[in-house]
């Protein structure tokens, strides 16, 4: 029997599975949050009360990207 040699497939993963999952989960979460603020916030729902600065600022993008507005 030969001693087990490290597989190249394992070497290509430079950090453990949980860290990978955290990185992917965090990226997905922040992306969704960003989409929400660009597309929906201060329209139907608002995290900043009745303020409309965010809505008005990205207003044209919101229309052009297909999100409901006005």
């Amino acid at each position: 029997m030969t001693t087990p040699v490290a597989q190249p497939r394992q070497r290509s993963i430079s950090f453990p599975l949980t860290a990978r999952r955290a990185a992917l989960g965090l990226t997905a979460l922040l992306s969704l949050l960003l989409l929400y603020f660009i597309g929906v916030d201060q329209g139907a729902t608002s995290l900043f009360g009745s303020d409309t600065h965010l809505h008005e600022f990205v207003h044209d993008a919101r229309h052009f990207l297909g999100f409901p507005c006005h």
């Binding site: 992306s31 139907a44 297909g66």
Partner: protein, 303 residues
Amino acid sequence: MEFRYIYRGLGAGLLGGLLAFVFARIFAEPLVQEAIDYEDGRHEAQEALDAAAGLTAGAHDHGEVFSRSVQRNLGIGVGMALFGLAVGGLFVVVYLIVSRRYPNIRPRVLAALLAGAGFVGLYLVPFAKYPANPPAIGHEETIGARSALYVTMVAVSVVALGLAVVVGRWLAGRVGTWNASLVAGVVFLVLVGVAMALLPAYGHLGANRAEFGDFATETPQPLTAPNGTIVYPGFPADVLFRFRFYSVVSQLVLWATIALAFGQLAERLAVAPARRQARTAASAADRPAPAPTTAPAPTTAAG
């Protein structure tokens, strides 16, 4: 390893968003202005009608938070760039999950497939039911219902796409890749078709039916005086078509940029570890070779 992909996915998305913004600034902004001019004109016509009918129109001026100049130059740029960034983030997460599951798919091919799926699932199918609208189209009192319906349509579309892919993968070993892909396509179309049939049109929402009558959309109809003559036209059809067409094109610009830019970067990342391994193998070969069965490999010991 993952971070190198994530940075590149975000970068490709940001670049795509910026290119889509350039397109939007040139082609969409004149239409947005036409739509706003239409809205202003309609508002004046409505006030004149109200005055003739003896109604006192309530002061209805919009306090401008940002000037049109800021909105059409800076606001839409920031909005579309950040949208690209967010889409790039979602894209790279899916890319990393799928590429681990199916490591034999070439990076640029996988990037193109996933970008195509993103374009269809996140944008095109929801657009088919609830297309993009310029300003002047959309009633303020239905914004809550419309947002909920739009998000629902996006969610259904994405889930249907996922289910179709699962069905396709399952069938591929049984009826071949081509037939499995066709069946998966049919599954996707049937699922989103059923959802489109079940979800109400914007114009059929209760508040709209009560105030405007039986119209499928919120597109403004001609304004008529009490005697039936049209005093202000309906929303110009050509402006509406061009706005929607350019909306589709700008999304194509965004997703195509992600597919091509990220695909290229991922190809380079994929060959980079292979090159490093080749180098370390070559340097190991220069040293006196230990007996392979007894000594551990020197490369792993070096870390």
